[in-house]
Amino acid sequence: MKIDLIVNKQKKTFLIEPNEYLLDVLRRYDYQSVRRGCDNTSCGVCTVLLDNKPVPSCSVLAIRCEGKEITTVEGIADEAEKLAHYFGELGADQCGYCNPSMALTVYSLKQENKNASVEEIKNYLVGNLCRCTGYVAQHEAIKRYLGDES
């Protein structure tokens, strides 16, 4: 069957099966920044924005997204660039596998609460796992990014 999705502000038609998850469809259509991790909602590396809210694409049936807006990290490139600057500055980045998902969730936090404390940052990001960094530098980098008004 065919569905229309608006991916990064561009309307596109996708051929899908009724039991396919959004993650599988996006990756099949070469949105490679949407990554596969645990495949059961636990790790967060498959995060995309669905109508501007971060969701685990591994557990959202693609068919339910008909007509909705999907944003991958490419759709927030300018903001991701700013976050990357602070990640680099503080050494908050290692393998980079979780970075696209982390950027999308942090972007969403900025829309909701740009004055978030480190505790609030931790709570908001609890579903986005990073196996490399140990989080401390990430949280500080995110705090700086949230305060960046440029």
Partner: protein, 262 residues
């Protein structure tokens, strides 16, 4: 998971008809646990076009449409004011924000998951479930039913209540399911529910009656109450924790919970 057909009904009557047309037709809530709860479905029914995504505050109660996300509930000011915010607090401990953006209260209730953190909280808040066909049902009656009704959950209604509330989830990691959870409210009387035992959350009715029979609760009475709780709340083993460990947890955290609200 295998899905033969996907169906978005335009009316509740249409949804109810299709649901009951075949024993293997199912309703999907948020779909967060669909991978573990559904293997093969003939027609998967999705309710998003039926205007069930709302949180409405009335004079005496809050009504939550069954398609409301856990995240929308977590940040709702009316829900935050119920019994020290016990429901918002319990929701905030479920997975991460991304999952709470898709998980719905309808799916959380109708799934009757044994690991659920919300079924105990809804019981101590005396929530009522509003079904399309069966009408209004108390959450405790629903939890105690052996079979999940083939009906459409429209909304959950919770009476506005001040008083104190306390919720404790004990889990191996933040993202894991509870190995035990305790929900307790104290308003006109005390209400206690224990879940993820590993079985589904149930009320501790005899323990409540015992505590509610005293005007002043001393440490001795709390100890006696916990003994009664052990008689009526059956704990067990599963892959997350042993029965022995759950017993230690319940003894410690039930005492703390009672002290917290009295």
């Amino acid at each position: 998971m295998e899905i033969k057909e996907f169906f978005k009904p335009k009316s509740l009557s249409e949804a109810f008809e299709v649901l009951n047309a075949n024993s293997n037709n199912k309703i999907i809530g948020g779909g967060a646990w669909i991978k573990i709860s559904l293997k093969k479905v003939d027609t998967l029914i999705s309710l998003e076009e039926l205007n069930l995504n709302y949180i409405k505050e009335e004079k005496d109660f809050i009504e939550i449409g069954s398609m409301s996300s856990l995240r929308d509930m977590e940040v709702n000011e009316g829900i935050k004011s119920l019994a020290s915010g016990i429901l918002s607090q319990a929701i905030s401990n479920i997975m991460g924000v991304t999952v709470r953006n898709i998980a719905t209260i309808g799916g959380s209730v109708m799934g009757k998951f044994a690991f659920s953190d919300l079924l105990g909280v809804l019981q101590v808040l005396d929530a009522e479930l509003m079904f399309y066909h069966s009408g209004i049902m108390n959450i405790e009656d629903f939890v105690n039913m052996t079979k999940i009704p083939k009906d459409i959950l429209l909304a959950i209604r919770i009476k506005k209540q001040s008083g104190k509330g306390y919720f404790k989830k004990i889990a191996i990691t933040h993202l894991d399911f509870s190995i035990l959870n305790i929900a307790i409210t104290y308003n006109e009387g005390i209400k206690i529910a224990v879940g993820s035992r590993p079985n589904i959350a149930i009320r501790a009715r005899r323990t409540e009656e015992f505590l509610n029979s005293f005007k002043i609760i001393t440490e001795d009475k709390i100890n006696e109450a916990v003994d009664i709780a052990f008689e009526e709340i059956k704990l067990g083993d599963n892959s997350r924790a042993s029965k022995d460990y759950r017993e230690i947890l319940m003894k410690t955290y039930l005492k703390r919970a009672i002290r917290e609200v009295m």
